[in-house]
Subunit: 202 residues, 2 copies
């Protein structure tokens, strides 16, 4: 997705240890038009990959919510966002999976209520980053525990050098990302559109 | 906003102690069409209240993000979401305000980086609930600390019986809510469209 790649080039900052700061358009401030385009891009790319008849989008709070919502708007299906702390409105008997937090340290829990994810659901998993793949894997585990079918994984930014795509291979679903970072060195970020973008529209 | 009022009547659950469960369309699962309508409704209602030339929308993670994003999409301005834990991508020198958490207990911190909220900004504050008003007040404090101008407050659901509107009177800005709950008793929720909805479109 070329506008996203250009935005990362213009505003992304490499903070060392593989940490990418994109607070100006993903993790703290959002550009509404860019976020809408992410949703349209995911919808188009999954349709091209023959991922169809999706009934739910799932993501994890916090930064996954925006691109997942615009994807859900485009696909006209509900969005479920996994909670990291169980609010008192959530019943007992929820599914819980654990993943390490990349930008906050420690382990986070991801919690989904089976009220909203059913065995007949065909699920698209959307998140902001594909890095180590551990958060995505935890979400995929929750989808499986609910008995639903995971049909595709979409992440806004892929840090290819962290190997998440390889970790998720065993899930055997299409993995779509909108911008790929091959490496980051000091103040340089090597970012490009993914290989699949043969039409250059991302 | 009549579709929202009807959804609360159909699916909202009173859990006691003033806690309303709306996990099916606000706090865990989102209905994309309803969320888009919330954004359109806020934009229309603030225009009617002569709240114009907005340059930023602000909200707090987590559940404020969705209605704030659709409002930002409608107004075509960036959205800033206050973080509850400082990610390592955030610089030192951020503004921090504290508010009690209604559904999780304890005190939460709300953190905004002055990188994205400037003195020239005219800000609309959007959140999911107006209850005690303490979270909104904390966000308003952050807006003031950044030197920006708060122009209006919009909340999806107002629990009128918790008095938040009175607490926020001193901010002297229009407060727009899309559904008003006058009281909750055991399994009964007394919900209606707000008085301002003379056109019944919410």
């Amino acid at each position: 997705m070329q506008p996203l790649v250009e935005r990362i080039r213009a505003e992304g900052r490499s903070l060392g240890n593989g940490i990418l700061k994109v607070d100006g358009f993903i993790n703290h401030q959002l550009d509404p038009q860019l976020t809408v385009e992410m949703g349209k891009s995911f919808a188009r790319r999954f349709a091209q990959a023959n991922v169809t008849q999706i009934t739910k989008v799932i993501t994890a709070e916090v930064s996954g919510i925006a691109p997942a919502l615009t994807t859900a708007i485009e696909l006209q299906v509900p969005l479920v966002y996994a909670r990291k702390k169980r609010p008192i409105t959530m019943p007992e008997g929820c599914y819980v999976a654990q993943a390490p937090s990349h930008t906050k340290g420690g382990i986070v829990e991801l919690i989904v209520s089976p009220e909203y994810l059913k065995p007949q659901d065909r699920v698209l998993l959307i998140d902001d980053f594909l890095a180590s793949g551990r958060t995505i894997e935890a979400l995929a585990t929750l989808v499986a525990e609910c008995g639903a079918t995971l049909c595709g994984i979409g992440c806004v930014i892929e840090k290819r050098f962290e190997g998440g795509r390889t970790l998720l291979n065993h899930l055997q679903v299409p993995i779509v990302t909108l911008a790929v970072i091959d490496s980051m060195q000091e103040d340089r970020i090597f970012v490009r559109s993914p290989e699949q973008d043969t039409d250059n529209r991302g």
